[in-house]
Subunit: 144 residues, 2 copies
Amino acid sequence: MPEVTRPDLAAMIAPLMRALMAAEQPVLARHDLTMWGYAVLLGLGNEPVYTQAALAKAVGADKTRIIGVLDELQRRGFLRREPDPADRRVNLVSLTPSGRTARDDAQREIQQEEEQLLAQLSAPDRRAFLRALRTLSEIARQAD
Amino acid sequence: MPEVTRPDLAAMIAPLMRALMAAEQPVLARHDLTMWGYAVLLGLGNEPVYTQAALAKAVGADKTRIIGVLDELQRRGFLRREPDPADRRVNLVSLTPSGRTARDDAQREIQQEEEQLLAQLSAPDRRAFLRALRTLSEIARQAD
DNA sequence: TATTGTTATACTCTATAACTATA
DNA sequence: TATAGTTATAGAGTATAACAATA
């Protein structure tokens, strides 16, 4: 019967996640973005065009969850919704240039704050941590 | 103006957290524990005795949040609540032997599942990842 | 007067189930 | 009949405020 020798991953990640979200809050507020709004802008950054359902899944939300978010971001000119000519049931969602700018501005500030945390790690640990986190995050995404 | 070269930490951690919680769910259900119940058992493991307020903070919850959880765990004999003789306002909460057993049994299974994830990393990255995660998690706790 | 644990209330968030328009 | 997007409803989860006991 193996002895427990480390904390649970979830028990270590949970407070870290809380701290990251708390640190993001004022930055997002300055840019007049909600967390879900920012998540959607980030989600749209990876691929140019999404259906709303695919976007919702990429962001880890229900399709009904992001509709109000899309309404607001569209109203502010950060994204477009255009019916797909090939299947007029689906909306193709894409970032506008101003949406890209808004995302990049907010993301730069957020990552600058994150760097203060990462600065507590040795350079090799920092590299390994980010590499491992990318790997595990990708595996987690594929599992769901 | 620095270019963005990696995903946000929160954007990588969020799906990982979701996956870990989803994987824990069936294990906890088998042990008839809720996530908050398990979190409280874990929180009590570090130090032998807590006030309810300190325990709530250690678990990252409001003091009102854990009262029902404590009621249930006490009912099942997993913990004791005794008024502090020195200050009869506070309840001193401590694990019973059977609470310790329940926690250890669940934790062993959970960490076995987590090992399947960590097995995707090289041995050095695994070590560095866990070391870095401990560090960052501790910093995050102290900040709050 | 301030603090601990508790309870009750209000609020927010999320999940579920209908509805429409297309296919 | 099935699916994408939408809307409305219900439920769970969370935060806030008030209360009793003690300091």
